[in-house]
């Protein structure tokens, strides 16, 4: 910027206005943190930090609240959805970058990204009316028949398959996060220099060996960043799971049990909380979610930035 520009008074005002607008981001983050902490101070005072996080109570009548069932539900559905989504997403990225004929690359990539544009409430509604009956009538009884009697793994497949449960919610979540992981993985794969790939082909590697031993190791930072980003997204997803998870404040082990995530609890109970300590505990939950997802997203950003630095060399 030229020095003379600063001397103009209008320019000073304009630069201050733009600065204020961009600092609103920092202000918002601090504001959200401050408001959530002060609103939940009643619950923090009553339950403390460790006791709140480790208690399975969620009893509005006795006014005793703990976050563990919600955190457990969030962690369970999120991890399960990642387990389902990662192989599919990486498969899609491999197909689009290495297998697909050129004229299909654009359309398929765009179609997968359209999945990310569909609003989460549509996923939730589709899950409730369409996916949930299919799960309870066909897929879940089938899984139960195969795995139900297997020791250890069988614990995951107990109970009556109702379709409103952890498995259905995780499948919907996984469909929602596939586009994120897939598009970041695709972009990372694309950055592998063709010289490196060609040298692998030249010593006789098959196409899969090039992908497995050259492309994936080369782009693993970016792919990992994409996975953590999807994790952060899945943690905070509300409407897609609110329809199909029930709202069950218990620690459950079966995929066929209803559960509650932090987001589902907030969506269902926030507008109805009738006592101060109840509302304060819900704010406390929101604070826990905010901190969890902020840290996760920051880690994702860290890896993506490192990947960017590495590839731009």
């Amino acid at each position: 910027m030229p020095r003379t520009a600063k001397k103009n008074p209008v320019d000073n005002i304009f630069s201050l206005v733009t600065a204020a607008a961009s600092f609103s981001i920092i202000l918002l983050i601090i504001g959200i943190l401050y408001v959530l902490v002060s609103e939940s101070s009643l619950a923090i005072g009553k339950f403390g930090i460790w006791k709140f996080l480790s208690s399975t109570d969620w009893d509005p009548v006795k006014e005793s609240f703990g976050a563990l069932t919600n955190v457990y539900g969030t962690a369970f559905t999120t991890l399960l959805s990642l387990v389902i989504a990662i192989p599919v997403a990486i498969g899609i990225a491999i197909f689009v970058t290495e297998i697909s004929p050129n004229f299909l690359k654009g359309p398929i990539g765009a179609a997968i990204e359209l999945l990310a544009a569909i609003p989460s409430i549509i996923y939730g509604m589709w899950g409730l009316f369409t996916l949930s009956p299919i799960m309870s009538n066909h897929i879940e009884p089938f899984l139960k028949k195969i795995f139900g009697a297997v020791p250890l793994v069988g614990i995951l497949f107990q109970g009556t398959p109702m379709g409103i449960d952890i498995l259905t919610a995780s499948v919907i979540l996984s469909i929602m996060i596939i586009p994120f992981t897939a598009s970041i993985s695709r972009d990372s794969f694309n950055l592998t220099p063709s010289v490196v790939k060609e040298s692998a082909y030249a010593i006789g590697a098959t196409r899969w060996e090039v992908i497995k031993n050259v492309v994936i190791p080369y782009s693993k930072l970016g792919v990992f960043g994409g996975i953590v980003l999807s994790l952060g997204r899945a943690l905070g997803e509300t409407m897609a799971v609110a329809f199909v998870l029930g709202n069950n404040h218990r620690i459950t082990t079966s995929l066929f049990d209803a559960a509650a995530t932090i987001t589902v609890t907030l969506a269902n109970e926030f507008a109805e909380a009738d006592t101060d300590i109840y509302l304060s505990s819900l704010f406390y939950l929101a604070l826990v979610l905010f901190v969890m997802s902020f840290i996760t997203l920051a880690i994702a950003k860290f890896f993506l930035l490192r990947a960017e630095k590495k590839y731009s060399r």
Partner: protein
């Protein structure tokens, strides 16, 4: 089998699975969109746009209040979010270009883009709903604008950075002050890109439900008063789909169809513009 055959088979299986994965992604897209299309068109009637909701359990009625309310909230959110986002992006790409603070704000906005929208809902509830004493439309609009700001800010920053620096130098050489260079040269060069970013950010917030649940809430009656609870399509879909009446379910599908078509059209338009302009 020889070693070579094993390697070839392994490769074939892996590539076949990847192809399968790609088709699985397409399958979900077609499945979900097809389902919304089939159910939505069946329930789509003119009365849906012209009538207000009938009492629960009574046949007929429409969602005029929700269509208008959704439009109202989205427009207000855009009016708040776009100026803040564009100006903020301008600061990062122009006045603070290359400085540490620009980098920090840029990274923080990237994080804010993905922060759970329901948390923003609880924040606005504490700031704009409880002090006033009741749910209101402005709270919903502000909640959506908070989701919009980082999206618009980042695309503006990226688009302004694409404008060649020599263009600015040419304007400086004529003696123009920086603000004139920005508003008359840089903004013109990046107009398409910024507009696309705005389109995509509208598409992003138009489908948001969670931040509206405890801000603008819902309203069964037609209302243009932003100081009172305002109905929105998304919250209505949530309420109707979870409700017990078939009539409600049909209307929820119709609303889902309209909102999905709207958002997909915006998204596809935005992407086509980007492709046409920048590739």
């Amino acid at each position: 089998m020889t070693r070579e055959q094993i390697r070839k088979t392994e490769g074939f299986i892996a590539l076949a699975l990847s192809t399968l994965a790609a088709f699985m992604g397409l399958f979900w897209l077609v499945f979900i969109l097809g389902d919304v299309l089939v159910h939505g068109i069946k329930a789509l009637k003119l009365s849906l746009f012209l009538n207000d909701p009938a009492p629960p359990g009574v046949e007929g009625g429409g969602l005029r209040n929700a269509f208008v309310g959704q439009l109202l909230i989205t427009v207000c959110a855009t009016l708040i979010g776009v100026p803040v986002g564009v100006l903020g992006g301008t600061f990062l790409a122009e006045y603070a270009r290359g400085r540490g603070i620009a980098r920090i704000i840029s990274i923080l906005s990237d994080i804010m883009v993905s922060v759970p929208s329901i948390v923003i809902g609880t924040f606005i509830y504490a700031v704009l709903v409880r002090p006033i004493g009741h749910f209101n439309g402005w709270a919903g609009a502000v909640a959506l604008s908070i989701i919009m700001i980082p999206v618009v800010l980042r695309t503006t920053e990226d688009m302004l950075s694409l404008v060649p620096w020599t263009l600015r130098e040419a304007a400086f050489a004529l003696g123009a002050p920086y603000y004139k260079v920005i508003t008359q040269v840089v903004y013109r060069g990046a107009a398409t890109g910024i507009l696309t970013g705005i389109l995509l950010s509208i598409a992003r917030v138009a489908g948001e439900t969670a931040p509206l649940l405890f801000t603008s809430f819902n309203n069964s009656f037609f209302s243009l008063d932003m100081k009172q609870p305002v109905a929105s399509l998304t919250v209505t879909i949530f309420q109707y789909a979870m409700g017990p009446y078939d009539n409600w379910h049909a209307q929820a599908w119709a609303a889902a169809f309209v909102i999905t078509v709207f958002i997909l059209l915006l998204t596809i338009t935005g992407r086509l513009i980007i492709r046409w302009r920048y590739k």
